[in-house]
Amino acid sequence: MNVLAVVAFAVALVPLAAIAWYVVTKGIGVINVDFFTQDPPGDLSAAGGGIRNAIVGTLEMTGFAALIAVPVGLLIAVFDVEVGGRPAVVIRFVIDVLAALPSIVVGIFVYSLVVVAQGHFSGLAGSIALAIIMLPPVVVATEEMLRLLPRSIAEGARALGLSRWRSFLSIFLPTAFSGIFTGVLLAVSRAIGETAPLLFTSLGNNFFSLDMSEPMQGLPLLIYRNALNSAFPAAEARAFGAALTLVAMVLLFNLAGRWMVARSRPSGSR
């Protein structure tokens, strides 16, 4: 019987190994300094150029999204833990619903409010969509970390005469910081790979742009559009090179998050 279980694991490993192999071997051939310092050609079927605008766009939009999602997420989590009761149950339910939303529906929501109101696509709209996607993981991670704090810390703070808000700001949040930071890293690693929310919010851009009020290119978007044109070898190669870059970025944040978790659990159980 354990043979079947091992077989199941092996079956799951095959696609992982295959995709790792393909992305690395097909992507590495395209990667050079130009790939990171130049923008893609207007015509995707033409060879050459790079993915600079996509990398910068992804970093800028995800960074901005984190800037929105982390404070809001912290506030929501603190409210849930501190006030609790019916309001907290309702809010946690809404957060759970948000977490289960298909990411393309998030894109539609942001389109209906932000893009229509602005009259055009923009990196800002893309950031807002990514922020909505990042919000549930941040809230859940923060809440969990705050709930894991030992009672003695809270009681000690109360005994010293600290008010609740001082306790949160000076003691609870800093103590829970590494766990919260881990949650943020994992949320970021997820948001970096999202394509669907960007399709009709930031739209994409062939040129280099730092301007959030303009359409902005993102790495997943670039991969998607080149994949659609992958009949052309140049587009296929560019797609794999960009995919390799994207996977490297996601792994970076993912592993950083895991490393921080492992660091805070010296016994290494689980």
Partner: protein, 331 residues
């Protein structure tokens, strides 16, 4: 782990009512401000998202006026150039690919969960879990790229063989087999949901009461007896919840599906035929939707997808709560 199922935490409860003697006497208005401020932030943020939902749903008015809700949901024709819109081919595609992905992923996920909780020593189980989670770290668009350029061509001879043999008897395994298909999409999505289903199933199996486990072993049972008699029956509800969770993720998958499903807005009998899902048609057509009512119809499809997702995930949460109640009552 959802936000709902952490037990009420270890931070001592704040005084329940705002007018409590403690606050009033010590004059801790700072705390009242703190609670109102965080509450206001939470409400504002969620209200903003609610506003977005409202804007989206209300923009679909013209579409539902023209076809009626029932007419739109059961309509089988999708022809933007004739301003005819029906959601059924996409609902069919979404449910079919969801079903295929669950059928393919769940046995694998159960096998992995059993491997980790029953068969492997602790030290190896950790790295195995990490490897499975690496599957989850690969972005959807990269799976789609690989699926389109590698998996689909590799699958094609097998699909043709199946269509030529069993396909003659079972039409849903029959021709056509152009490559991109419901099956290819279901397979890619299966790969993508294995980690989450395996992770939840692992939690479920790990929650099996030790007493029951050891009782079977004391009676001379093998590991397999423990699994068959204790782990799986007790974990039945949780397992069901894990499957629903996977299904919920599966129907929301967009980009990987768009790249391998073949983009055909017709209901096809064979799983090897090209098709569309609710999510993938929106991704595919939205940016070029210039015909009359086309964008609104696509948003309406999004609303349908939202409804299905809420139904499935809501059902899953209810099932999961029941499972956790069972664990707490010490079944």
């Amino acid at each position: 782990m959802t936000a709902q199922d952490s037990p009420r935490g270890s931070l001592p409860d704040a005084p329940a009512s705002e007018g409590s003697t403690l606050l009033r006497r010590r004059g801790l208005t700072g705390d009242r401000v703190f609670r109102t401020a965080t509450g206001a932030a939470a409400v504002l943020a969620l209200a903003l998202i609610g506003l977005m939902a409202y804007d989206s749903i209300s923009s679909t008015g013209p579409v539902f006026d023209r076809f009626g809700i029932w007419g739109f949901v059961t309509g089988t024709r999708w022809s933007p150039s004739f301003t005819i819109y029906g959601a059924l081919p996409f609902i069919y595609g979404t449910l079919l690919t969801g079903l295929i992905s669950v059928v393919l992923a769940v046995p694998i996920a159960i096998g992995i969960a059993l491997l980790v909780t029953e068969f492997l020593p602790r030290r190896v189980a950790g790295p195995v879990a990490i490897v499975v989670d690496l599957l989850a770290a690969v972005p959807s668009v990269v799976w789609g790229l690989w699926g389109l350029l590698v998996l689909v061509p590799v699958l094609r001879p097998f699909e043709q063989a199946a269509a030529g043999s069993i396909g003659r008897v079972l039409p849903f395994l029959g021709p056509p087999t152009p490559g991109p298909s419901y099956f290819a999409a279901g397979l890619i999505v299966a790969i993508m949901i294995i980690p989450i289903v395996a992770a939840v199933t692992r939690e479920v199996f790990a929650a099996t009461p030790r007493l029951q486990r050891e009782a079977i072993l004391a009676l001379g049972g093998t590991r397999w007896d423990v699994i068959r008699q204790v782990v799986i029956p007790i974990g039945r509800t949780g397992l069901f919840a894990a499957i629903i969770l996977g299904l919920g993720r599966a129907i929301g998958e967009t980009i990987a599906v768009t790249l391998v499903i073949g983009n055909s807005p017709k209901i096809a009998g064979s799983i090897f035929a090209p098709g569309f899902t609710l999510a993938s048609v929106i991704a595919n057509e939205f940016n070029e939707a210039t015909e009359e009512l086309h964008p609104e119809a696509l948003i309406a499809l999004g609303v349908v997808l939202l409804a299905i997702a809420v139904l499935i995930n809501g059902g899953g949460v209810l099932v999961r709560r029941r499972f956790e109640q069972g664990v707490r009552l010490g079944r």
